[in-house]
Symmetry: C2
Subunit: 188 residues, 2 copies
DNA sequence: GAGAACATGTAAGCGGTTACATGATTAT
DNA sequence: ATAATCATGTAACCGCTTACATGTTCTC
């Protein structure tokens, strides 16, 4: 059972929203679902070519002055079928790898300061991320009054990010306390 | 800046706890830090060989009857230095990829039942995981009374898992409500 | 008798990142 | 001037998974 390529579906899914160029796809993925997904050009362009070969997308070339030609891809009916098929298949869960925790696990021989520093960096990061997510959320909630279901699904994914980050922040506080306890040599 | 190999440090880190064979390392990683890390034999054995070549580990062969020889690896002083160096370097954060959310994001055209099913599966999974983590936690807390710092660091990593899973479960509840709302065609 | 645990490894191949290549236009 | 945005692609390489290869002992 060869490992299936999820990037294909990320690209195909983006085309299901509206016709787009490879460049647009990169941007939309980054800005739209950057909390939980990413793709690079080196993945997107070959996939696009492949999707056309398989009949899941078609390509129209738009001439532009000065800039390179824009290749705008549209999803086909077969492409939508393929996407829907993937959507209904079970979700596969890959093992997480969290480097921060790996370091923490091996840090008992080093100074607690090393761990404290890493956790504090992580905490700052999470604080920034949370703020950004909340801003996005606010804008989405006010934009949602009139619009359709798409935004509601988008909001669900964002809420996952918010809950995760809040959990991470709670953990940072607890862990920093514990590390400071170890530092000052106390039992607890 | 080539992407650095974290598996090496996972293996080296395991050897820092005690001398072990490749087989032991696999087991220890799975049972000990399986919540946030994993390695396969196809990674471990070549890395072990490489670590010996680099002088970060040494190997002793134990003859066994019936079973294949056990190759027990021990970390060297140079190996400990290398591990400590890595520990103090900044943590690198790789972009997450969460397939469940990718599907959810593209699911607005499909039936809400598809999404409900995926989220329910995820919820069950998280419930099982939480129960297991709590069991492990309980055992660790009672074992910790007398032991040193190692367990305290281990507990911190486990707590991260617990908070994450609790957040996921909160999200599942909220999201299932939302999806059921969409299903029954209501505005909210 | 089946399967898990013990034990070590190799080969093939994919998925993904990083760096390279090119070049105009617009904004600061 | 400098950087960012627009725009498309290729090449090299590495990390990792999956499958293969082999064989014994212990447990259900």
């Amino acid at each position: 059972m060869p490992r299936e390529n999820k990037s294909r579906y990320a690209v195909l899914g983006m085309l299901s929203l509206e016709p787009m160029s490879g460049y647009d796809i990169k941007k939309k993925i980054h800005r739209g679902i950057g909390e939980f997904w990413s793709e690079s050009f080196a993945q997107i362009y070959p996939i696009l070519k492949q999707l056309v070969e398989e009949g899941y997308a078609v390509c129209q070339i738009e001439d532009q002055e000065g800039k390179p030609d824009r290749k705008v891809y549209s999803i086909t009916e077969a492409g939508r079928d393929e996407l829907m098929k993937w959507l209904s298949e079970p979700v596969t869960y890959y093992p997480l790898r969290i480097e921060l925790l790996l370091k923490l696990f091996f840090a008992h021989n080093a100074s607690p300061d090393v761990s404290i520093h890493h956790v504090e960096q992580f905490q700052k990061r999470m604080q920034d991320v949370l703020e950004e997510y909340k801003n996005v959320e606010e804008r989405m909630v006010s934009a949602m009054k009139s619009r359709g279901n798409w935004l509601r699904y988008r909001l669900m994914t964002l809420r996952y990010g918010i809950y995760s980050v809040e959990a991470a922040l709670k953990w940072c506080e607890e862990t920093l306390q514990e590390l400071n306890g170890i530092k000052s040599g106390k039992g607890v």
